[in-house]
Amino acid sequence: MTIKTEKPLLSAEAVKKDLLAKYPAKAGRRRAQQMVAAPGPGREAPEIVSNARTLPGVITMRGCTYAGCKGVVLGPTRDIVNITHGPIGCGFYSWLTRRNQTDASADGAENYMTYCFSTDMQDNDIVFGGEKKLKAAIREACALFKPKAVSIFATCPVGLIGDDIHSVAREMSEETGINVFGFSCEGYKGVSQSAGHHIANNGLFKNIIGINDNGPDGKFKINMLGEYNIGGDAFEIERLLEKCGITLVAAFSGNSTYDKFAASHTADLNCVMCHRSINYVAEMMDTKFGIPWCKVNFIGAAATAKSLRKIAAYFEDAELAKRVEEVIAAEMPSVEKVQAEVRPRCEGKTAMLFVGGSRAHHYQELFKEIGMRCVAAGYEFAHRDDYEGRAVLPSIKVDADSRNIEELHVTPDPHRHQPRKSPEDKERLAAAGFSFKDYEGMIPDMEAGALVIDDLNEHEAGRLIALYKPDIFCAGIKEKYGAHKRGLPMKQLHSYDSGGPYAGFAGAVNFYREIDRLVNSNVFGLIPAPWQESPELYAHFAWD
């Protein structure tokens, strides 16, 4: 799909200079390292500082470790009782606010996602410790709900006062006979949500993955990692996989259940959607169980087709490859019809995407498919590999903020390690163009001269909008209404505002229509009142 790029982009250097002009000197020097110009497709990405501390006072888009752990990764699982150990706020704010859908319609299915559980710590608990209250809360939860698992999420004060949630979890596991486990995801750890993803990955891996060997039957069994079923994305992906005859063992963690996590090691391939939030689980499952992983992307119709073909290629099965082609052939006409309809109205318009650790990259696909250009983009909480590709992994220095996040030492499981592909298989697949553990990053996909900014803040967002005057701005809820006030349509790419799904083929159609609606909206054209457009004075004769 070609994009019209005749109109030259603004000079990235000039924009950068404008953005940095107002900073105190030291802060400006640090921000400068987090802004680079994309060299153009296929060229080696320049180094960009990321996963670095947020500058205090900038009005950041970022959230905290607890949000990454409880909110993002564990939030979408419906049948675990997630207890927030802390004052009431953290549990309250992460209660149903992320639009993770779940299908709990089966008879007897458990669904705790509509509930908020908290120990609601009071000053006494801060002074004398909260472990007793936490134990009592777990007992009360078990008595009321008889869940199959309870998890505990630590908030800031818990770490400071030294409550040992893990020993509480062990003790309560013994007492209740169910799996109780904790996440030390205090908000101050790390520099963003990213640390929370890592902690969540570790906890899932240590406490659930691999404890139930009875997975589903199926010839082609995969896990979908880093897909959170915002607005029903996972349902669309599930529909496509089923149509292709691919068995989804577990999704991490959209529309997921505890039992599916527990049996996820029975899959034969891990497909990674959001590289940032879940690559740790993929890596660890490869080492422990011998399950290879590859990067997929179901955002964008072409990307969806490519991802399905990639899965088929992995299984080296002619029948599967044929079915995948049939599914793509059956799905594409309706996608292409809407593309053709929408493209004339969207072509040449410009977008900015500042969100997530993958979404700012993935959604560029959808914009390209209707002829729109991405003039600037960046992640909120990504690392260098998400920008520059995994090739830079060995050169990433581990700083103090990352060092305090546990790195699990993983070894092959003596009973369950079973390499799905031999070294010869892998070589053969590689020779045929299949790449394992492959994430090329966002920058190599971007137009030459497009600006890449890590950890964008309110000041910079305002300047970017003023300078580029894009047709649409994509970020999160905190940025939404500021964009509207500036007369600019805004699409949330964390929770999608109200729409979705945007994944897969049906999702692509939804997204094209949504962007068409936004960039061609009548509302923003009505900003000047008639009298402001012709402000000349009118007078009356005195005898009127």
């Binding site: 949000a67 009431i88 669904n111 000053d123 800031c156 903020d401 905190k478």
Partner: protein
């Protein structure tokens, strides 16, 4: 069923809160700070607090909500957040240049014991605060009270940090409107203008959190209570604190520090509470109530008389903040409705007492819990169903499961608009509340009535 695990049988809980009817202090402090002209709220803690508060407030108001954070990392949590706050103050003035930075604490900075006034003083000494600009603060530990307490503490912080006494009375009445909507604050100012009473209303989020779309974004719109007015609160004739939980502390401080007499009132929701507000305002300012105000009162009373048959005897469950819930319960009682289940998450000994006293004439027992949660409320409803639910958006899960109409009121409302623009305080606000309640009840009657009993005229 969305809340399929909630059992009818009620068992005591000591430790586990389920589906809270409150949130934490800092968000209330942020709202109060947004009601100061030219103010940027600042959250001294880890950045997640600020992100969560801004997200929730953006969803509630559908407006940009700006606030900065000290972005604590593990190092700051161990060694203290002074360096972070100093850097933040410098960066905020360089990038955003507000008139005021209003710093509130979090459970993190409170637990480690950061001394914010001392850090602010250090910032001033180091020249990080430009001349004429202000850094004010409030202590808002999340493990005490609720968002209402946080709002109250920031109101207190405002007067503690800014109010002065020049010795020359300014003839104005201070009004603290409580944790209410920008529309409510606007309405209170309108009533005061009708009564020709000069007031200093603070905080005032009208025009800040319900601003216009002009194509130009102003981080600090020409709205909110100006700093000069806040300074002048020490010279006022009296302070009317609307809502004991959210507003009394600041009023009491103005009394003890500057001898500005306080009048602590309920939120003026419903006829009787609005009457008390108007009467108190009249007495404090020494004015007579104009016919225009009496006209609006008469309109409300007229509708109350006309629509009484549709309201009388209807059972209501209410969840919300104590100032709102108390006033609503009183209004419902006057309308002949039966507020049978009442919870608030905000702790406070007087709440249950007040509700029991108020509902004593109802001739039947009332379930009231403070602090209580929505899980308990739901269990009460399963044991004794109601005709109407009144409270925030989270009640929609109970409403759907139990098939009960819901009127949204309070904080947060994440799924409907209107609260920012149409008040529920004052006589006009009373009219709107009745309209909303009647619409909910009558839509239900239309849906549920038999074909034979279906009514054209209601």
């Amino acid at each position: 069923m969305l809340l399929r695990h909630t059992p009818k049988e009620i068992t005591g809980r000591e430790a586990l809160v389920i589906n809270p009817a409150k949130t934490c202090q800092p968000i209330g402090a942020m709202v109060a700070a947004l009601g100061i002209e030219g103010c940027l709220p600042h959250s001294h803690g880890s950045q997640g607090c600020c992100a969560y508060h801004r997200s929730t407030l953006s969803r509630h108001y559908k407006e940009p909500v700006m606030a900065a954070t000290s972005s604590f990392t593990e190092g700051a949590s161990v060694f203290g957040g002074q360096a972070n706050l100093l850097a933040a103050i410098q960066t905020i003035f360089a990038l955003y240049n507000p008139e005021v930075i209003a710093v509130h604490t979090t459970c993190l900075s409170e637990t480690i014991g950061d001394d914010v006034p001392q850090i602010a003083e250090k910032a001033r000494q180091e020249g990080k605060v430009p001349p004429g600009k202000h850094v004010i603060n409030a202590s808002t530990p999340s493990y005490v009270g609720s968002h209402v307490t946080g709002f109250s503490n920031m109101c207190l912080g405002i007067v503690k940090n800014l109010a002065v006494k020049t010795g020359k009375r300014n003839g104005k009445i201070n009004i603290i409107p409580g944790f209410t909507e920008p529309s409510d604050m606007e309405e209170i100012k309108r009533i005061c203008a009708m009564m020709k009473v000069p007031v200093i209303l603070f905080p005032d989020t009208s025009g800040v959190l319900n601003g216009p779309l002009t194509g130009k974004y102003l981080m600090f719109p020409k709205a909110g209570t100006p700093v000069e007015e806040l300074k002048a609160t020490g010279d006022s004739r009296a302070t009317l604190a609307l809502g004991e939980w959210a507003s009394a502390d600041a009023a009491k401080y103005l009394d003890s520090a500057f001898k500005v007499p306080p009048v602590i009132l309920d939120l003026p929701i419903g006829l009787s509470a609005t009457d008390r507000f108007v009467d108190a305002l009249r007495k404090a300012a020494g004015v007579t109530v104009p016919a225009s105000v009496e006209f609006e009162r008469g309109q409300l009373l007229d509708v109350m008389a006309d629509m009484h048959p549709y309201l009388y005897g209807k059972k209501v469950a209410i969840a919300g903040d104590p100032d709102q819930v108390t006033a609503l319960a009183e209004f419902f009682l006057v309308l002949g409705m039966l507020p049978v289940h009442i919870v608030t998450g905000t702790p406070g000994k007087r709440f249950e007492e007040r509700i029991h006293k108020m509902t004593g004439t109802m001739g039947r027992p009332v379930n009231v819990k403070c602090p209580g949660d929505m899980f308990l409320l739901h269990q009460w409803i399963k044991n004794e169903p109601v005709d109407l639910l009144v409270g925030n958006t989270y009640l929609k899960y109970i409403a759907r499961d139990e098939d009960i109409p819901l009127v949204r009121h309070g904080f947060p409302i994440l799924d409907r608009i209107g609260h920012s623009y149409f008040p529920t305080v004052g006589y006009k606000g009373g009219l709107r509340l009745i309209e909303k309640i009647l619409t909910a009840l009558m839509d239900r009657q239309d849906r549920d009535s038999t074909e034979t009993g279906f009514e054209l005229v209601m």
